[in-house]
């Protein structure tokens, strides 16, 4: 490779930053495209049946009313024009008024979003706190009783529908034992049951991934090198190996967040948690389409942002990704 000159070193340092910047730029661009795609789908929801008025008005509506509505909403214009108009409004945060509540859809979402994020974050935290150590321990004590127990737990966790678990939790802990409230958002105690119900499904997947990731890492040559150099077992497992195993976990966490957002819809329904999910179910049943559109759009945006953050975190943790392109 030759002896690097001063200038050479400088270019190398800058090069690292530049390629990182390029990567970030690329990911941002991708995210924008994805959001555009989402907007197309959200827009399309309303037009699926060909005539949105059928969804927005009761069946017995008169011809008069239908025509008026069409004119009001500009439904006679070409589709692409409607889309552009929709996009324009959406980018300014204007999703129209919720039919049922008669307030801007976006404001309703902002009121309820914190509750959902709180629940999802709590669920994910519960899942991580339980699953990661379980996965690590299962990997360390492979084929032991603990490992078997974990696999059984994992299997059950994956097979249980989240709402059934929720109902069971309510039955046992709220009705029979009366330790936690059965519904509503009222202090930390009320967060426990819904968070556990929501987290359980992710718990299983995360534990599995951690276990198999750790097993794979522990079999690697560099772990052998660390042991050969006399590093303490504790350090090898938790500092050395875990960092390697955690990296793919980071992307998984991002995806799990999306899955949990979906699961939150049901969990909120069962536990009467005042979040976006419950709002969404309510909106769909009351045919409040502007609200539905807004909810899907916002949730998708949150998901995309979270995944973008996870991806960037990933590159920070794993130096190979960004630099793989810039040098041989």
């Amino acid at each position: 490779m030759g002896v690097p000159t001063e200038a050479g070193v400088l270019v190398r340092l800058l090069g690292d930053d530049l390629s990182m910047l390029a990567y970030v730029g690329r990911r941002l661009g991708q995210s924008v495209l994805v959001l555009l795609g989402v907007s197309v789908i959200v827009f399309g929801l309303l037009h699926l049946t060909g005539d949105p008025t059928r969804l927005l008005l009761p069946l017995e509506a008169r011809e008069e009313d239908v025509r008026q509505l069409r004119a009001l909403l500009g439904l006679d214009d070409p589709l692409w024009l409607q889309y552009v108009r929709f996009l324009g409004h959406a980018l300014r945060g204007d999703f129209g008024l919720s039919f049922k509540h008669q307030v801007p859809a976006l404001s309703l979402i902002f009121q309820t979003l914190p509750a959902t994020l709180e629940l999802t974050a709590a669920g994910l935290t519960v899942a991580l706190v339980v699953a990661v150590p379980a996965g690590v321990l299962a990997a360390l004590r492979r084929n032991s009783a603990l490992d078997a127990l974990c696999s059984v737990g994992v299997l059950l966790g994956q097979a249980m529908p989240v709402y059934w678990l929720g109902l069971l939790l309510i039955l046992v802990f709220a009705v029979q034992l009366r330790w936690f409230p059965a519904a509503g958002r009222d202090g930390l105690a009320s967060l426990v049951l819904p968070a556990v119900a929501l987290g359980a499904f992710s718990m299983a997947r995360i534990a599995r991934m951690t276990r198999s990731g750790m097993l794979e890492v522990l079999a690697q040559d560099y772990v052998r090198t660390a042991r050969a150099a006399g590093l303490r077992a504790f350090v090898v497992t938790y500092k050395y190996a875990l960092k390697n195993a955690a990296i793919p976990l980071v992307t998984v966490v991002g995806l799990e967040f999306g899955i949990l957002l979906g699961g939150a819809v049901i969990t909120e329904t069962i536990f009467a948690w005042p979040g976006v999910g419950r709002l969404a179910v309510d909106a769909i049943f009351s045919r409040d389409y502007p609200l539905v559109q807004a909810i899907v759009a916002i949730l998708a945006t949150v998901f995309v942002l979270i995944n973008l953050a996870m991806d960037l975190l990933y590159t920070y943790l794993d130096p190979r990704i960004v630099f793989a392109r810039s040098r041989g």
């Binding site: 070193v9 560099y222 660390a226 050969a228 006399g230 350090v235 500092k239 190979r320």
Partner: protein
């Protein structure tokens, strides 16, 4: 004066679904202070497993079944885990074959060397890092201070191997086990690394156990050589002696396989047959099926290592 390292009748076995695989089946040799002992054999003959056994790093389900490994008079196999940990790296260190996979990709090499230092010495991160930089300098890595911040994938093969060596020597061990240190490298780089090893060995008076299948490397670096076949040592001799007067049929076969200018134009020789299945070993000499000089007693009893000439041991009653 007792040898620095003495391996006595070491046996390491791997249970498989088709029987116990006796990778190392009664290996004995000694390593003196300041000497370079080569351990030669083809792939799968048990040389790597021997070295891993000395370090007690045999991957499960393998286990060391019998024997002793005496280091400075103490049996390493009898030590508890913590005591063994203190030996690894600080007293006996190991360099592996594949520098790409043997270094952790998500930590800088400086971090990894510093971690090795901190495993045995106190002194804090700063001091450990500085020591790491100094070590990189000793192994002739250019611009060691900047390089220490690099990650393994940013270095060429030769530099990575140098980093591995720096990591191994960081705590000043008395013995270095080098498992095929140059096999994965380009030929020109090989020469450089061998040079480096020779220099470091002379500087520090280190004992080196050099594991290789390459007789050329042996000729360059080693004082003594042990030839291993199918989990047993078949010949041990000073290097000149071995090359000049190879006694065991297997050793002779190995040397004949080397291309030589005197045999230019003629087809290359090979040793007929294949090594035995280590799970189902027959009685008698393991090389007998492939040996042109085998007699009836060869297939009946396992030959022992006998001193045929001063310092030259061979396990062959026919030619030894």
């Amino acid at each position: 004066m007792p040898p620095l390292l003495a391996v006595e009748r070491l046996q390491t076995h791997f249970p498989t679904s088709q029987g116990v695989l006796r990778a190392v089946d009664g290996v004995s040799f000694t390593l003196e202070r300041g000497e370079v002992l080569g351990l030669v054999g083809e792939s799968g003959c048990g040389k790597s497993v021997t070295s891993l056994s000395i370090m007690r790093l045999v991957p499960p389900p393998g286990r060391i079944a019998a024997g002793r490994v005496l280091f400075e008079g103490e049996n390493l196999l009898a030590k508890d885990d913590e005591a063994m940990r203190r030996v690894r790296g600080a007293r006996i260190a190991m360099v592996f074959q594949e520098p790409m996979t043997s270094l952790n990709p998500v930590f800088s090499i400086g971090d990894q060397i510093a971690a090795a230092v901190l495993a045995h010495a106190g002194g804090g991160r700063r001091a450990a890092w500085e020591h790491g930089v100094a070590m990189l300098d000793r192994v002739q890595v250019p611009s060691p201070r900047q390089r220490a911040r690099d990650f393994p994938h940013q270095l060429s093969g030769g530099l990575r191997q140098r980093a591995m060596i720096a990591l191994a020597l960081a705590s000043g061990p008395a013995v270095l086990i080098a498992d095929e240190p140059t096999t994965a490298l380009d030929v020109t780089i090989q020469a450089q690394i061998l040079d480096l090893l020779r220099r470091l060995q002379a500087e520090r008076g280190m004992a080196v156990l050099l594991i290789t299948h390459d007789l050329g490397v042996v000729a360059e670096l080693c004082h003594r050589v042990a030839v291993i076949y199918a989990g047993r040592i078949v010949e041990i001799a000073p290097v000149r002696s071995l090359f000049a007067r190879p006694l065991h049929p297997y050793t002779r076969g190995l040397l004949q396989c080397l291309p030589h200018p005197s045999r230019f134009g003629r087809p290359l020789t090979t040793i007929e047959g294949v090594p035995p299945d280590l799970r189902q070993l027959d009685a008698g000499c393991r090389f007998a099926p492939r040996c042109a000089h085998a007699i009836a007693s060869c297939r009946a009893t396992e030959p022992a290592l006998e001193e045929s000439e001063p310092g030259h041991f061979v396990a062959c009653p026919v030619l030894g």
